[in-house]
Symmetry: C2
Subunit: 538 residues, 2 copies
């Protein structure tokens, strides 16, 4: 079969990736297990692939690493090297990267070490911290294809503003990460660098669209990562890979230089935020490091709201949403919620149940607003190269109406969205609820190509409420998490998702939960998420 | 000629207005001058229409009145009565009101006085302050027609949220004010309660769309008023009536319960803000009284940004925009800017010139986004009743494209708008400019029906920069402000506006200016505007 022109284009990126992998860190042949190894998340601990010091570094929080670099106990070069090594191993097992930037990372680490030696000071709150970054977040002079073959010709003229600010804070970017075609999957496959898999179970998806980030966090290729989220794209990958993620309120983090189809579409906003491998605290560190630089003075559409320092207290009420009333969660998720409830109650936190407010309406609004043009703009970008439309891309595009909305229909949906937001907020207040704990997804990490139901995450996008994801410390276990044989699905959609739960398929997948606060209460949400996750994981 | 059905509908509102006027305050026949009296702003001072005490009250700032009520020197009833009296006289001369609410206002004042007597305290920071309110800002149980005959059937189910919060702060609403058909005039005429005129020159327009508010402030019918602004509708009326006005950054003041055609249109936002008869300080009082109540917890689309207390210092740079490069300002405006420059420089403020950044582009963006549907929605509302389309309504509707934008075209304009905002902000920074002083309009108050050029105000709408208007203390004088006979207009549009300047027509019209800060720097803008206006008026 002839090679098609889109494949030639895609091969450019495959070559860039292959050439960028730091050869010196690639384990010798035979050291890494073959395809038969399903669970690889802890492989570095078990196989002597990293030294004790490197292992210790890669399981540390960014907060601890910065503290150690501040005392001169660790150098930036040691830190970056350890994560580069781990990321290189991860790449062999997970295909999570699109491009390594090893030389630049080491060079920058050396500069930071020199600065520290000369001044005795750190350059900023993220001094020497390696951060992995989703591909569609621009890096100067490099391709930014956003999961589309036709966009492989796009070279970022500058670093995305967020990248610039994180660099100023001392962060080091060592690896760029994979994403699905069009970015509109809770999964991670494209026609360029292929499919990323989940370190906890390589037969499962790492989620998406920040799926390379999810795998990066799950394998601890970096203490922090950057993802974007318009329907769950930070939170699903965080949850599926046993990691942490935070979708802030829109217009707080700088967004300039992030390349997405449909520029100027404002009815539902894509937001950028952190993922973390090891702690909620690191996400707060990320947010404060960025927002303390007053990004609104560089990107004036942002809200000029400083990052508050909030002291977490247990004086709040958490409502648990057991089920969104549309699709029933799988047994491990319900077990995770039950476990969280008991732990929180034992710790003296007030816990109540959350009756969801018409999530079907929420879904109608968000799904309609994802593609107000009938996905014409995205379909054209795919068609431009001739690359095949992947099934999950087609699935997502079909959320839209067949025809573009008229301007008046778009206004009507904007108004519905505003009313829904106000009603949801009022209900939280009326019920005295500060935070909502809920499933991030129907189940734990799904099989590749199977993530059809978005509304456990997408609901918080349309409501624009800040939401953090953290692990419970539990994992799916086929012996415990049996099929609820007595459950009667309420609809064909519920039936479809119910049927996907075959316990043996999900063995070892992490059980993570989603913790949502009120609009603009980002700081309070992270502070409470830290407290609650510590309690649940204890 | 038969009375048409729309006239019958409009007559309902005329009757409501006529019946609401507090008869006891209407001067006996012959006391007020006839049509020959052009300048009536000071008529209460000259004709013994108000007592000394009433006169003193009505020329006071809200800040002073609250202080006096706090000391028990004045009662709320005295204050409200004085303004009701003055407003009733104003109505005879200016036709600025749509409805008086005298009984409710007096009853509320008595309640406040009782509260004060019993507790020794004020109920809030606006205790006893009468506020006039533009008609399309909902008042519970009353018609809210927004300048459309077909909407006369609309009864507000609740007070607008802003009204609720101001009431909680102690404010008293005594009169509702007039606005033009469709609200899209910088003028004040509709087919319901007719035309409002300017107290400084009754042959001139009070501006609009908050034209009733402008006249209310100019005649001192209240120390504070509420207007809305999507193209200059607070600022033009403030400027034309020798008063103060403030267009805050969007999403700071609560907007729920304000009725405008095109709900859900978000590309260019209408904002609500204060007008004041006597000081910038009163507008700061208004803003803090509202935002201190955390309106974002009641209207979650607002930005959760507290109102900062800012101390004004002279350590800033003001750039003067003498001309927007499209339409040349009339001589009195240029004189006002020159006067302001000299006063500021004498006071030690750094003053530079402002070269505008492509205001033609700004106008293309804002004009296109006013009516992305080709004004179909507004045209239908006018047509529904059969009322005639007024010339300035047709003029504004014709800003739009003949056809509705497609969704993609709307996105493209949103993106253009974002880029223009970022470029303008960056230019202010690059030039070291903190504030821009500029004409509010081509000239002083125009003749009714003649306000065709919006872009001195609309530019700050599309840029979403906070802007205050204040008087210079100067007035148009035909003997000084002669035609610039050597000026050669640059375009037909410039020629049209140039030709409108016949010095004798504008005698006595106040010369006010517009003072613009950076996006979200509302507090800093008001603090600096207070300082600068004090210097200029001194």
């Amino acid at each position: 079969m002839a090679i098609e022109s889109w494949q030639i284009e895609a091969n450019k990126c495959k070559e860039i990736l292959a050439n960028s992998i730091p050869k010196q860190y690639v384990p010798k042949e035979g050291v890494l297990p073959g395809e038969e190894a399903i669970h690889v998340a802890d492989i570095c601990q078990k196989n002597g692939l990293l030294s004790e010091n490197e292992l210790a570094i890669t399981v540390s929080t960014a907060t601890d690493l910065v503290a150690k670099m501040g005392k001169g106990v660790l150098s930036a070069e040691e830190v970056v090297t350890a994560f580069l090594k781990r990321a290189t191993i991860g790449q062999q097992l997970l295909n999570f990267a699109t491009e390594f930037m090893a030389d630049e990372a080491i060079a920058r680490a050396k500069e930071l070490d020199t600065y520290y030696k000369e001044t005795g000071k750190l350059v900023g709150p993220l001094h020497g911290i390696p951060i992995s970054v989703k591909e569609h977040i621009g890096i100067k002079g490099r391709i930014c294809h956003t999961g589309y073959v036709s966009w492989i010709q796009n070279i970022a003229p500058e670093d995305a503003l967020l990248v610039q600010l994180l660099k100023k804070a001392g962060a080091i970017f060592h690896v760029r990460t994979n994403q699905p075609q069009s970015l509109m999957h809770l999964d991670c496959q494209n026609n360029i660098t292929g499919m990323t898999v989940n370190p906890y179970n390589r037969k499962l998806s790492p989620g998406g669209s920040s799926g390379g980030e999810g795998a990066s966090m799950g394998f601890k290729c970096a203490p922090l990562g950057i993802g974007t989220d318009i329907g769950g794209s930070i939170r699903a990958p965080a949850a599926f890979n046993g990691a942490y993620g935070f979708r802030p309120t829109a217009l707080r983090n700088p967004y300039d230089g992030i390349i997405l189809a449909g520029e100027g579409q404002e009815s539902i906003r894509c937001v950028v935020g952190p993922l973390a491998s090891s702690s909620v605290e690191d996400m707060d560190l990320f947010m404060s490091a960025v927002i303390d630089q007053e990004p609104w003075d560089l990107e004036p559409s942002l809200v000029a709201m400083p990052w508050k320092r909030v002291q977490g207290t247990k004086d709040f009420t958490v409502a648990i949403m057991w089920d969104d009333g549309i699709v029933h969660p799988h047994p491990p998720i319900t077990r995770g919620l039950q476990y969280a409830k008991e732990k929180m109650q034992a710790a003296g936190i007030k816990v109540v149940d959350w009756e969801p407010l018409d999530h079907a309406l929420g879904w109608d609004i968000v799904a309609t607003l994802y593609f107000p043009d009938g996905a014409a703009c995205q379909r054209k970008i795919v068609a431009d190269s001739g690359e095949p439309l992947l099934p999950l891309t087609e699935w997502a595009f079909n959320y839209s109406r067949p025809e573009a909305l008229t301007i008046h229909e778009n206004w009507e949906y904007n108004a519905k969205r505003e009313k829904y937001r106000a009603d949801y907020h009022a209900l939280m207040k009326a019920r005295g609820v500060d935070f909502i704990l809920s499933p991030t997804y129907v189940g734990v990490a799904p099989e590749p190509g199977a993530s059809h139901y978005w509304n456990y995450t997408a609901i918080w996008n349309i409501l624009d409420q800040p939401t953090a994801v953290f692990p419970t410390g539990l994992f799916q276990d086929p012996k415990i998490d049996k099929v609820e044989s007595s459950y009667v699905p309420r609809s064909a959609e519920d039936e479809r998702e119910f049927a996907k739960y075959v316990p043996e398929k999900f063995e070892g997948a992490p059980i993570c939960l989603q913790f949502t606060g009120k609009h603009f209460k980002d700081e309070e949400t992270l502070a409470a998420a830290k407290l609650v996750s510590d309690i649940i994981q204890a």
